[in-house]
Structures are given as structure tokens and as C-alpha cells.
């Protein structure tokens, strides 16, 4: 429908509150039409970044470009962006129709056209029958749709969503997630979406930027971030359960960790201490591996998570499609395919490239 969706660049964006630095030199390039997710734990700076994109927050340094035009100092209303707030921020004294039509009324669109556009937007999010109600008479899910309709009604160049699903119950969240993805695809509007829920990020995003402590630690497709996490922190944040991390010593093509010598794909010329990471899904019960005892088997119906404890008291988790044929308390050894190993620098936490 629209070819006006914007490409966005953030260049060396800094944000401080007094002496507290919230964002350290953020660089980001978002392609037109992309569904881009800002993912990170709370307090990592992702919402601040979104608010900077919206123009609701002034930057302390750096600049923001939309389609190559510097918009750093532009007011929120001059950027042609629409936002769905976590609280939805609906106007409680207006009807649903008035809420959705408000941005059009503000640009002086004739009433008849507003009515048509409101109906159109409301139909897209399936709330056409609620137009005469006020937000107080709606359920949480319906309110969320009204907020969505208000954002899409004026066909913005950039669409910002701040944890829009966090106030919905689990079932509704799944349904809405699907609807949201479909809607974004049909509108083809550049979308920036903030969440701390990695599952949301993985399922919705074309690309993800992972935020940690005011820095972007990795940008990539969901697959890249899952399979080649840039740091130990990202590895520990993505995946349920998160990656197992065991300290070890890397020499040649093997790592000595947890009392076993384990083969890895990369080789190190000189011996060095590393952190060995293996996804729970890649762990196997295999001879010659790390000796452990089975602590607990959790059956999730379609999969099973088994917790083991090694000689030094560390917890190691394994995820299988079927329940393993071991009993709690039994002693086994754990291994993995050499290409499943992730190696991180012991001190900096950064991923180690093949040497």
C-alpha cells in the first residue's frame, strides 16, 4: 500500500540524566519496511531509544536521520511517527472513533474523510463494532487494538511500539502477536518494537538489536542472535532455558571443562582460559563427557528439560523432545557435537572467533 515507510539511522546517540549515562553511543540502521525489535532486560536503554526515535526524549549527543534527513531536533509531531504506548494512553473522555480519528482531526482532515479512515483502520484491527464506546468500557485487548488503530490510521512513516503486549494475558498475547505480524506485513511500514520478551522478539522480528546496560551488544536476525551470540550476556539472555556456561581451558581443538576433555570446532594455538557455552538443546548424554548426576526431569508434554549437577555443583540443563531414559539420582556423562560449542573470552565475555 505505502511506499513511504522510512529508513532510520541513529548515529552515536548518547543520553544522560545528570551524571547517569543511559545510552552510550548507540549506532543503528533500520531499513525501510523492516520489523525491528529492540530487545533487552529492563533498564537496558531500549525504551529510551524508542522515545528518542519518537522525539519524546532529547538526546545528549549524536543525531537521528530519517531517509537521510536529520530529524534530531524535530518535535514529535513533525516526524510523522506513530506510537503505541505500553499503557495505550487512550483519551478516556473520547469515544473509540474520536480516539482513532484524533490524529486526523489535528491535521485538519474533513470530517467525512476522517470517518472513512477511522472505519477503515478499525476494520483492520477488528474493532469496527466498538466505535461508539469509550475506552473505560473496553477490555484490555480491545484497548490495545484501539491504540493500534489510532497509530495506523494516518499511515505514518515509522511505527513505534513500546511493549504493546505486556498487559495482555498469555493466550491473548499469542493471538495478538500473530495479528500484529500480519498487520505489519500488510502495511509495510517500518516498525520498531520494544520488548524484554525474547520469544516475542524471535517470532516478530526481521532483525533484533540486543540492549545491555545502555549499549547495543548485537544486531542480527533472530537466527543469528540465537546461533551466534556475540557475548556471554546475550547467550545467557536468549533461549529458554538459557545457554549452559562452564569455565574451561582451551587448547588445540579441545576444551577441558567440568572434569572432561571436550572436542570443539575451533582450535587455539596457545592454551587459554575460556567460557564454554552449549545450548540445552545441543546437550546429549554421551560417553566420555562431563560426569554429572541427574537432579530433576521436568516433563513439559511436548518436550522435557533435564537438570544435571556436575562435580563442582554447577547446574547444566538439557532439552529434548522426549523424556530421556535416565532416572533422577543416576550418574551419567554429558557431551555435545563439536560445532555446538560456543567459546567466550573469560574476562570480556566476548565471543571468540576461530583462531
Amino acid at each position: 500500500m505505502t511506499s513511504t515507510s522510512a529508513g532510520v539511522r541513529l548515529e552515536a546517540i548518547r543520553k544522560c540524566y545528570g551524571s547517569t549515562v543511559v545510552l552510550h553511543e548507540i549506532d543503528l540502521a533500520i531499513e525501510p519496511g523492516e520489523f525491528f525489535v529492540l530487545l533487552g532486560p529492563s533498564g537496558s536503554g531500549k525504551t529510551t531509544t524508542l522515545r528518542i526515535l519518537a522525539g519524546l526524549e532529547e538526546v545528549s549527543g549524536g543525531r537521528m536521520l530519517m531517509d537521510g534527513v536529520d530529524v534530531t531536533t524535530r518535535e514529535p509531531g513533525e516526524r510523522d511517527v506513530a506510537m503505541v504506548f505500553q499503557s495505550y494512553a487512550l483519551y478516556p473522555h473520547m469515544t473509540v472513533a474520536q480516539n482513532i480519528g484524533f490524529p486526523l482531526k489535528m491535521v485538519g482532515m474533513p470530517t467525512a474523510e476522517i470517518e472513512r479512515a477511522v472505519m477503515d483502520a478499525a476494520t483492520k484491527v477488528e474493532i469496527g463494532h466498538l466505535l461508539a464506546r469509550t475506552p473505560g468500557q473496553l477490555s484490555g485487548g480491545q484497548q490495545q487494538r484501539v491504540a493500534l488503530a489510532r497509530a495506523i490510521v494516518r499511515q505514518p512513516r515509522l511505527f513505534l511500539l513500546d511493549e504493546p503486549l505486556s498487559n495482555l494475558d498469555a493466550k491473548l498475547r499469542l493471538e495478538t502477536r500473530l495479528g500484529l505480524h500480519k498487520l505489519q506485513r500488510s502495511l509495510d511500514t517500518t516498525t520498531v518494537y520494544v520488548t524484554h520478551d525474547q520469544e516475542e522478539a524471535m517470532t516478530l522480528a526481521d532483525r533484533i538489536a540486543v540492549f545491555m546496560e545502555g549499549r547495543i551488544v548485537q544486531v542480527g536476525t533472530p537466527r543469528e542472535i540465537f546461533s551466534t551470540p556475540a557475548t556471554m550476556a546475550v547467550a545467557g539472555f536468549i533461549g529458554t532455558p538459557p545457554m549452559n556456561l562452564v569455565p574451561g581451558n582451551w587448547q588445540g581443538d579441545s576444551v577441558t571443562a567440568g572434569g572432561a576433555k571436550l572436542r570443539v570446532q575451533q582450535a587455539s594455538s596457545a592454551p587459554r582460559p575460556v567460557m564454554l557455552g552449549v545450548r540445552p538443546g545441543d546437550i546429549r548424554i554421551a560417553p566420555g563427557g562431563i560426569p554429572v548426576t541427574v537432579e530433576r526431569i521436568e516433563d513439559l508434554g511436548d518436550s522435557a528439560i533435564t537438570s544435571f549437577r556436575d562435580a563442582e555443583g554447577r547446574l547444566i540443563k538439557m532439552k529434548n523432545e522426549r523424556q530421556p531414559t535416565v532416572a533422577e539420582g543416576e550418574s551419567v556423562t554429558l557431551g555435545f557435537a563439536p560445532e555446538a560449542a560456543h567459546l567466550f573470552d573469560n574476562t570480556s565475555g566476548e565471543r571468540l572467533a576461530v583462531t
Partner: protein, 282 residues
Amino acid sequence: MNTGPRSAFRYIVLYAVAGFGLAVWAFPVIWGLMTSFKTERDVLAYPPKFIFTPTLDNYREVIFGASSILPNLWSSIVVASGATLLTMLFAVPAAYALARLRYPAKQASGFYVLATQMLPPVGLIIPYYLVLQKIGGLDSYGGLIAIYLTFSLPFAIWLMVSYFEDVPFEMEEAALLDRAGRLRALWYVILPQVRGGIAVTTIFVFLNAWNEFLFAVVLGGNQVRTVTVAMFNFISVEQTQWAKLAAGAMLAMAPVIIIGIFAQRHIVKGLTVGAVKGGGRR
């Protein structure tokens, strides 16, 4: 629902206490109402008469007679409405700024607003008198209204700030993103949500100005004599005309009571707004 004897007893006690409180509170009003229909002779009768032949003479006198308070009611209407209008005109934007904008010394200015309420009014009379005398503002509507502003404005700002603070920031940000700009965001989104607060504040400011006596008697005069001052004139060294005073008081109360009845819903809602976060907002 428990309707046993214990609960019935509770209700009796409750109503008794409430009834006693009401009687104490309402007695002066009822006494005033009775007095306004008595002759001066009946007023001074001892023991006080509860059964008497009512007369409308007092009302006739204070409305149409030589000591008619109609011009004074007019003065009061002008002064109270003028002061209220100006107060709200300045207080609403000021309170919005105090509640929303981040600027240096915000805390201090908020405290300053409140601090002006701490001065005893009597300490201000002489300075005010001298100032008004210098600028020729004695016995003028402008002068009295200006003086009323000095204490109604801080009060109104202070009251309105809490209402503005109750409106979530995000709602305003949403309006800004919807291209409303600050002024239209205020007009279309914020003000409708503080309607109740504006109503309550307007009523309080109006009532304060309407009932004000101290400044009106000192700073007013023959041109500007509010109804509270006019009633004071029924009391003189030789004689106090209690019945006329009561009739005047009843007339002066009428607008206040009418406003009170119409605004009751707003006032009760407005007073509880700070108690529960968002409780007064809908």
C-alpha cells in the same frame, strides 16, 4: 445483610450521632432563617419565641427599602465573578506548567505558592491599603479584584496542580505524537480530564471571594460595597437590626447554596481525587 438487634442498635447510635452533628451545624442557619421572618420585637423577646406570626417586612426592606442590599449583591457578583474569572484564567496554565514542565527551581516556586497562604490576612491590610491609595485603587472594582487575586491565585494553582499531575504523562505524549502540539494537547486532551478540578477550584475561589469581609470592608467604600459589608451596616452603635441582618444574610446565602446544590457532585468527587490515585478521574 445482618439485621439483628445488634446492628439495629448500631444504626440508632449512628443516626443519633449524625443527627446531633447536623443539629449543631444547622442551628445557626435555621435560627437565621426564623429570625429573618420575625419582627424586631419578636427577635428580642425573651425567652426566644419559636411560634410567631411570620412577616415579609424584613425582606421587603432589604430588597426594596432604603437599606436595599441589591446594589451590594451586584457589587459582590462583580467582585467575586471578576476575581474568579481572572484567577482561573491564570491558575490553569500556571498549574499545568508547575505540574508538567521541568525547569530549575520548580520545587521552590511550588513552595512559594503555598507560602503566600501562610501570611495572616490582617497583616496585609495596611500595606494593601497604602498601595491601593497610591495608585488610586481604593473603592474600585479593579482594586478589590486585584487584591483578591493575591490570595485566590496561589490557592487555585496549588489545588489545580494535583489534578494536572493526575493525568498520565503518556496521554500528553500521545497527543504530541498525534500532531496536536502543546496547546492543542492541553485543550483537547488534558483540560477535559481536569474538568472536575476546574469546577471545584472555580467554586472554592468564588465562595471565598463572595464571603470575604476583611479586605472588602477596609479597601471598599461607597462605590464598591459588597453584601458582606452591607450586612455589617445593620449593626450600629445605637441599634442592631437583627431581623434585617438575618434577611440580608439569607439573600446573600442564596447564590452560594444554589451553586452548592448544582456542584455537589463535583465537589465531593474533587475532594477525594487525591485520596485514591486516579480515583476521581474518568
